[in-house]
Amino acid sequence: MSDGHDHHDGHDHHNAPLSEPAQRVKALEQLLVEKGLVNPQALDELIDTYERSVGPRNGARVVARAWTDPEYRKRLFDNAAQAIEELGFPPGPQGEHMMVVENTPRVHNLVVCTLCSCYPWSVLGLPPVWYKSTAYRASAVNDPRGLLKGFGVDLGDKEVRVWDSSSEMRYLVMPERPAGTESLSEEELADLVTRDSMIGTGLPKSPAQRARASRAAK
């Protein structure tokens, strides 16, 4: 576990048994293996799942399908977890109790968890560091409009609705479908749906932004 992080981590640890976290985690794994509570291979597989298979692309596909298929959209609003599973994404941890909230020309939705860091893993993967930060958790409920400006989203006087994930319900924002996308396929539409647009801290890409991004990638 010599990842370098353990040597220059400048945190101030005041709590009881404090060596560096990397050493403690290493000892903990060894102990739990000896106790028969942990199977190292199972850990590898789980880590791989969250690094490779579960991420915001899942959510983007859900949104793109809902944009293009009114029947699916209806199912998604009736029972989100089930409709998400239809696309091959099992509910898994932090995805069993889902609700999709829709942005409209008049209402913008934003998701936060002020008490910890609840986040819809099954559709967005694990949360980014900023989502878990004290700054985000403190300000999202108190000054959402100002917070969104920091993310480059100017709501004007649009109504803003902040969802504080205080229960086991997990919220996914369905952004508005960008203008000028009538001719795009579901797959192309999914490319427009950013992770932040599904948290509410961003908007989907426009077709022009998508084209620029794909040219840059080449």
Partner: protein, 278 residues
């Protein structure tokens, strides 16, 4: 618990800082910590409410100074000791002095790579059984002014504030007891809409609301009209206020009473949109 984890509305944490490339994990130990917590703890050692409580028990300065997965590490170490799965000495040495007792963890199974979580653990968090709801969509409620020392999921900023029930999310385990081995006490969870001005004061954003999920025990009926007519709520609210001393006129006057109740408890977005005063 009025802990430092309850951050909503606090000032002074600065702007939100975003990393340039946002890796899923930042080091090897974060990966191991994440996976151990999901597998070992979730199925065998604790439930998700106990886990959250264990994080909240961190001394405040430590809570603010540590990273996300360091908090998990702290919680896991303390829960292993608390539950009698390991001793402090074993945790420090990384070696088992004694096998884990079946009593401490229930029946063991190696896991075989299945993704399991707290939510899939022995206790289901949502119940299919139908419990009679105490409130209906459209009801005006007040979040109780509760300040328990134990774990709770009612954020401080909502306590004592008035809101409207927007959704009934079904019946869930009650974290306040579930975090302390005091049973599941299943009850309805409601999504309650609070106006930003109700939460933060009259000079606040007039076009912002915060939706908070509240267990039934967190709520009481707002004492305005006993049963205001759905369509004329805005008109009657004024009269209702004059009848009761406990309802500040401000509440009725600033739009809280102006929202007709949605007709059903379904999650119909259309009903909510129509019901919202612009």
């Amino acid at each position: 618990m009025n802990g430092v984890h309850d951050l909503g509305g606090m000032h002074g944490f600065g702007p939100v800082i975003r990393e340039p490339n946002e890796p899923v994990f930042h080091s090897e130990w974060e990966k191991r910590m994440f996976a151990m917590t999901l597998t070992a703890m979730g199925r065998r050692v604790c439930n998700v409410d106990e886990f959250r409580r264990a994080i909240e028990r961190m001394p405040p300065a430590g809570y603010l100074a540590t990273s996300y997965y360091e908090k998990w590490l702290y919680a896991v170490e303390s829960l292993l000791v608390e539950k009698g799965v390991a001793t402090r000495e074993e945790i420090a040495s990384g070696h088992a002095a004694a096998p884990v007792s079946a009593k401490a963890t229930g029946s063991l199974d190696a896991g075989g790579g299945r993704v399991e979580s707290f939510d899939n653990s022995a206790v289901k968090l949502r119940f299919n059984k139908s419990f009679k709801p105490g409130f209906r969509v459209g009801d005006r409620v007040v979040a109780r002014n509760l300040n328990p020392e134990h774990h709770t999921r009612l954020p401080r900023y909502a306590r004592g504030k008035r809101g409207v029930i927007r959704y009934d999310q079904g019946v869930f385990v009650f974290p306040d007891t579930h975090a302390h081995g005091q049973g599941t006490k299943p009850q309805h969870v409601y999504t309650v809409a609070f106006e930003a001005r109700e939460l933060w004061g009259a000079d606040h954003d007039q076009r912002a609301q915060v939706y908070v999920d509240c267990w039934e025990a967190y709520l009481e009926r707002a004492r305005i009209a006993a049963k205001p007519a759905v369509k004329s709520a805005a008109k009657t609210a004024g009269k209702a206020v004059s009848k009761t001393k406990t309802s500040p006129a401000k509440f009725a006057a600033k739009g809280h009473a102006a929202k007709p109740a949605a007709k059903s408890t379904s999650r119909s977005r259309a009903a909510v949109k129509k019901g919202r005063k612009r």
